[in-house]
Subunit: 264 residues, 2 copies
Amino acid sequence: MKFYEKYKEAVNHNNSLVCVGLDTDPKLIPSFLNQESGPIFSFNQQIIDATSDMVSAYKLNSAFYEIRGAQGFETLKKTVDYIPSHIPVILDGKRNDIGNSSKMYARAAFEQFGFDAITVNPYLGGDSIEPFLEYEDKGIIVLCLTSNPGALDFQMHGEPPLYLQVAKLMNKWNKNGNCGLVVGATKPESLKQIREVAPELILLVPGVGAQGGKIEKVIKYGGENLIINSSRAIIYASNSSDFAQKAREATIALRNEINQWRER
Amino acid sequence: MKFYEKYKEAVNHNNSLVCVGLDTDPKLIPSFLNQESGPIFSFNQQIIDATSDMVSAYKLNSAFYEIRGAQGFETLKKTVDYIPSHIPVILDGKRNDIGNSSKMYARAAFEQFGFDAITVNPYLGGDSIEPFLEYEDKGIIVLCLTSNPGALDFQMHGEPPLYLQVAKLMNKWNKNGNCGLVVGATKPESLKQIREVAPELILLVPGVGAQGGKIEKVIKYGGENLIINSSRAIIYASNSSDFAQKAREATIALRNEINQWRER
């Protein structure tokens, strides 16, 4: 099944736009888990069990696994395999390279690790993104406008600003219907401009919750085809034995808050 | 020792600006190696043994290891450990993210895997690069102008073009003397402009050899502080039992060709 359809089915089935970010940091998980042999995987399993009927997607940030070397990549793979197959799983790797190397990143994400989608950095241009786009059934979600202060340094460069040029070209390159954009929730007004040049692309929106983005405006300007990610506010909602239950409650609360604005 | 000093010592000791790219593809290495238990590592070992007195650095492209999952990252680590400690080793990962994730990528590259330098994608801006820059002894080599056709799509955006803005800001952020830029050899005229705004930063120059960049112009416009990378033309110079010897000969030939222009 194509990524877009899988995402749509999860959205409809779970009535949710929430993506849970499994940015699992050994220092932040409940300490009792560290007595187990695979604490990160065990944490992920319990979060997934507690939330998979309430989400539209999961997102795994590669940095949190890479930091543990080969062992971390084993945990990454095991976690992808554990997520129910009807829920799309995004590798937040912000990868890219040129030519053959770009092909290898695409193959690694989709064939080696089994992800449904990947975040890609656009700096290297169209031919660097092409090997990802060739996977018609996968989602290629390109960084557009991010939620950090440094977004001003280069993403706003030029006239029109670079991020709008990225949105425009990704919309043009969306021949297989598999493109998306990363747009931070902290800049909702820019969502409006992005929607003007890319009306239907899936937007992955990080930055609600811990980073302070306003959900009302994200829905107002972003419209449909949103994946709204929350990581820390959900997975670290508690660091006691009730962490999975609290993660579920935080997911439901975010889902309901989002749906309140969707339904207006 | 700081990356810059380690690089300078290797340049002087080996009288070489050549960086050998260990972009080791199981499909392209001599087939007899595939009978061994760790063919990629065995290939890398032999290339390193044959070239380490003729290079200024080694560069490992992460994509070629990532594609083999956890096992690939074990090979990556073993290869870094195997390279003689006086030769700098660059992770060509083109990584970046924001905040805590960016810190984790830096820690993974420098502390988990033991690299001396890393290539970083600038799209996310200054605060995303900062966690890398805090490693004063490491090299932070940021994508500026790349050797592929798609470099036109975004790197040339705006006036001045984005790549010059990247060069300018990296020069400004070079407070710890640990910044560099990636500039493709296929665009040597742009090297001149880049040198005007970043006169002393180390430039990592891929694209000679297989990609057709002209060495004479790279030296003419790039001046000193260059790391000139060649991957395929060196490591796949032969796919028979003489592959390591042929890699050595190709490294020496490239070193001599470069030095011919340096010495004018």
